[in-house]
Each structure stands twice: as C-alpha cells, then as structure tokens.
Amino acid sequence: MTSAGSGVSRRKRGLSLQQRTSMWGTAFMAIPMLFFLLVRIYPALVAFNVSLHNWNIMSRSRPFIGFANYATMMADPEFWNAARNTLVYSVIIVPASLALGLLTAYLIQSVNRARGTYRMVYFLPYITPTVAVSWVWRWLFFKNGGAINQILIALGMRPQPFLESVHQALFCVASVVVWQGLGYYMVVFLAGLEMIPSELKEAATIDGANRWQVFRTITLPLLNPTIVFLAVLGTIRSLQIFTEIMNMTSGGSGQGDLGGPLGSTMSLVVYIYRVAFYQFKFGYASAMTVALFFVILLITLVQMRILNKPVEY
C-alpha cells in the first residue's frame, strides 16, 4: 500500500491465494463454531458445574457440595435399579436386533423376487414416530381386550398382564424397540452384504462348502465391521432409551409415576428426567448425566479404536 493510485487493485491482489482461502475458511466457520461453543461445549461444562452443586430449582441458594451428588448416586437404590434395567435393555435389544436384522437382510438378499417390497415394509416402523409406535403397542399389549391377549385366548392360552406385570413389562418394551429398529439394522446389513464380492462365495461353493459354511467362514467375518458398528450404535442407543418407556409404561396421573409397575421398566434417562423435572433436583440429575456421558465416551472410544470413525447418537 505504497501509492494511493493502484490501492484498490493492489489490495485485492495483495492477499495471496492462500490468505484469501484462509479468510473465507474462517468466515465460513464463524457461525458454526460459535454455535458449537455456545450450544454444545459450554452447556456440557455447565452440566459438570451443576452436578457439583445442590441445585434445586425451587430454592435460591445453590451451595457447592463437591462430589456429594455422585456419592448420593452410588448409594441410591433407585439409581441402581434404573442402571440395572438399562443394562438389561441393552443385553436384550442389541443381540436380538443384530440377529434378526442380519437374518432379514440375508433372506432378502437371497431371494430374487419382491426384494424392494420386503425392504420397504420392514423399514416402515423405523421412520414411524416412536410416540405413535409406543401407544399402538401399549394398546396391543393391553391386558383386557388388547390384540395379543385376544390372540392368546383364541389359541387356548392364558392371557398375560404384559405391561402391568413387574416381570414382563421390561421385555415388552424391549421387544418394541427391536420391532421398530429392525429395519435400520436390516438396511445397514444389506449394504454390508452387498459389499462382499460374490466371487468369494461362488469359489467356496465350488470347493464344496454348503450354505452354512459359506455364511460362517466368508459372510460373517467380512461383515465384522458392520456388526461392530451396529453393536456400538445399538448399545449407545439402548443406554439412552426414553420415549418408549415414557409412553408405554407411565401412569396417567401426571405425578411422575414413570417407569412401569414398581419401577420395573425405569431406565437411566427416564429416572434422570424424573429427578430433574418432577423432583427438581437438577444437581443430582446432572451428576447422573455426567456418569452417562462417561459410559458413552468409553464405548465410543473403544469403537473408534476398532473402526476409526465417529457414530451419531
């Protein structure tokens, strides 16, 4: 910028291509970066901070209490009940979804006709609003007059209490999660199956391997990345199970009778929701969300080690 005459063009040219690129890059990132700082990272830090306070929305003073909320958590039988239930959900949902999803995808890939139709129908529940799905199944499972009990009676069997039973309710909820998620597992497995070169299977068949042997020695090992991906995603999703429980097993009183008969379907997130928004103990609820965060972080890190790519949840 020595002379005024060529100032404008000089200034424009004065920025190197590299400088201009980096200027545009910074401009493009400005709003997104501000967003991630204010709406994701800062609130995450707030959650840690709140968890260290006796933060009741009803009272004005919010004394710092260190890790007392975490100590409360470790000694809270309701927390452990919810944590155990959540673990049971994962242990049922993930293997069942993997097995049924793979079976469905395998069968669809093996048929020549109506593939598209099968895929379309099996995928339908996945895109249906979970709230609607939950209420439809609540009606199907209804003790007096629900479709499933009517079918059981017609088959000469005894009607079951299902969602009203301490022993059955959790399994009913888990089966609905599997029912709704099956289409997703199927679609991802189909994509995985299509990536397996058919020459490999043909070669094995020529060598005299039967279907089961081909499946076990070729298909399954080559599907391993897909299986790991789905197992991790499924585990993280089942740790966050909420909507189905809220809509299938909450009582109608509006007084926080969530989580089914005697808390038998209560998951961690439903319990957190109740502690925060019915008992107004934000500090304690935050402590539990932080614990959930660390569990999910651990699983994510393990899967990133294995697959080296991020997962959405």
């Binding site: 990132m29 967003f35 529940p125 209804f142 007096n144």
Partner: protein, 277 residues
C-alpha cells in the same frame, strides 16, 4: 430322504419367502390394528376384527374439535422444515470450509466439533433448560429448534462428501470470477445433491419424531409438536383406545405419504449415512 431334486430346489427357493412374509405380518399387523381401532366405536373396539362393524369418523372429529391437533401438526411442520433448511445450509458450509478451505487452526476446530458427537443430548438438556429459562426461550419455536440448527454429524457427513470433489472443478469456478461463497453454492453443492438429500431426509424425520427435548422445552398446549401433543393427549385419554389410535393414525399418515413418495431415497439415504458416516 425320498425328495426329488426339483422339489428340494423349489423348497429352497420358497422358504425365505415364507419367513419373510411371516415377518411382514408382524410388522404390518400393528399398523392395521391401529387403523381399524381408529374407525371403531362401542364394544367393537375390543374385538380383534380388522374391519370395523360400524365405521365412524367420530374419533377423528373428536380430535379436531377438542384438541389442538391441527396446530400441533403445523408446529411440527414449521420446526422440522426450518431445522432441516438450517442444517443443510450451515452443515454444508462448515463442511466445505473443513474440506476445501485450509485456515489456521482447522484441525483443532475439526477435532473440537467431532468431539461434541460424544456428548449425549441428555447431558445438555438441563443446561439448555436453565439457559433458555433465563433468556425466555422456553415454550417458543426458537427454543425447540435452536439446539438442532447445526449438527456435528451433518458437518462431518458434508465434509466427507465435499472432500470427494476435485479441486480443479472448484478452481474452474474461481477462474470464472466466482468468490468462495459462489464456488460453494454454485459448484460444490450441486455436486453433492444425493448427500444433501439424504441429510435433509434424516434431519426432517428426526425432528418430526423428536420427543426428549420438545417435551421439556414446550409448556403450553398450543406450542406442542405432534409427538408431544400425542403423548400428553393419550396419557389423559385413559383407556379411550379408539381416540388414541385415531391420534396415532393422524401422526403416522403424513410419514407414510412421504415414505410412499421417497421410499428409495429414504432407505438409501439411511444406508448411505449409516455406513459412510
């Protein structure tokens, strides 16, 4: 064995269909029963028949007259549409910068955004609730939408696809006199249309069906989204299953219509993002 070749061959071809059709019945029956119940009345509600004996539209009329169902529908539509537009715009913008515009600190920014993927929504909900209570955004569209306006997953997905565009193509645009905004908008984005479509579908469906944050961020009846409205209405309806199923039917039909139109794109979009993401 006594089985002849052709019979065995036919059996091998048919049994997958048998299993798959059995599965389809399990998938479809709940929907059929939902439809059937929503048109039933009286004692017929508690019969297993899939065809109502005296079909009625009373249940739907009840919803339209006594609840704010049309308003909830509109709320869901507005929220899902705006969030989708915002995500397409900002996710692809950030993804473009991360893929094609080297700037100082780019790797740090990328890792920072990626790391937010590990923060579960559950952990952010209490802080959001506290922040939005202070700013007065609880029970507003803005409050429901804000947390979803940009997503780390979307940014990552867009970056993946934008990286695949050859630099020569972008440079051609630059030589033609486009500034970087123009290159992004006119050259880069048209090249990743399928990915944008997949992202749009995922974001729209996700927001249309969202429950956890809306149920907390919404307080008044008129601000409810469809899932929140349906959930609270059903909780209050007790055992009036015909009304609850009518509500469910009204929530499911729009999704089915959209699905019927974009079935292939939706399924393939999920497969695409599910695996490549």
């Amino acid at each position: 064995m006594g089985e002849s070749g052709p019979v065995r061959g036919r059996f091998a071809r048919i049994w997958p269909h048998v299993v798959l059709v059995a599965g389809i019945l399990t998938v479809v029956f709940p929907f059929l029963w939902m439809f059937a119940t929503s048109f039933k009345q009286g004692a017929d509600i508690y019969s297993i028949g899939l065809i109502p004996k005296q079909p009625t539209l009373r249940n739907f009329a009840h919803l339209l007259e006594n609840t704010m169902y049309p308003r909830w529908f509109l709320n869901s539509l507005i929220i899902a549409a705006i969030v989708t537009a915002s995500e397409l715009f900002f996710d692809s913008m950030a993804g473009y910068a991360l893929a094609k515009l080297p700037f100082p600190g780019r790797n740090v920014v990328f890792i920072l955004i990626l790391s937010t993927l590990m923060i579960p929504t559950e952990m952010l909900i209490i802080p959001w609730f506290l922040m939005f209570t202070k700013t007065g955004w609880i029970d507003t569209y803005w409050g429901v939408m804000l947390p979803g306006l940009i997503s780390a997953f979307g940014v990552f997905l867009m970056r993946q696809f934008l990286q695949g565009i050859p630099d020569d193509l972008l440079n051609a645009g630059r030589i033609d006199g486009l500034n970087e905004f123009g290159v992004w908008w006119h050259v880069a984005l048209p090249n990743i249309r399928p990915a944008l479509g997949a992202l749009a579908i995922l974001v729209f469906l996700g927001n249309w069906n969202a429950y956890l944050w809306p149920v907390i961020a919404i307080e008044s009846a008129k601000m409810r989204t469809l899932p929140v409205g349906m959930s609270l209405f059903s909780g209050e309806a007790g055992s009036e299953w015909q009304l609850i199923m009518a509500a469910a039917t009204l929530a499911v039909i729009p999704v089915m219509v959209v699905y019927a139109m974009f079935q292939r794109q939706i399924v393939e979009g999920v497969a695409l993002t599910g695996m490549k993401g």
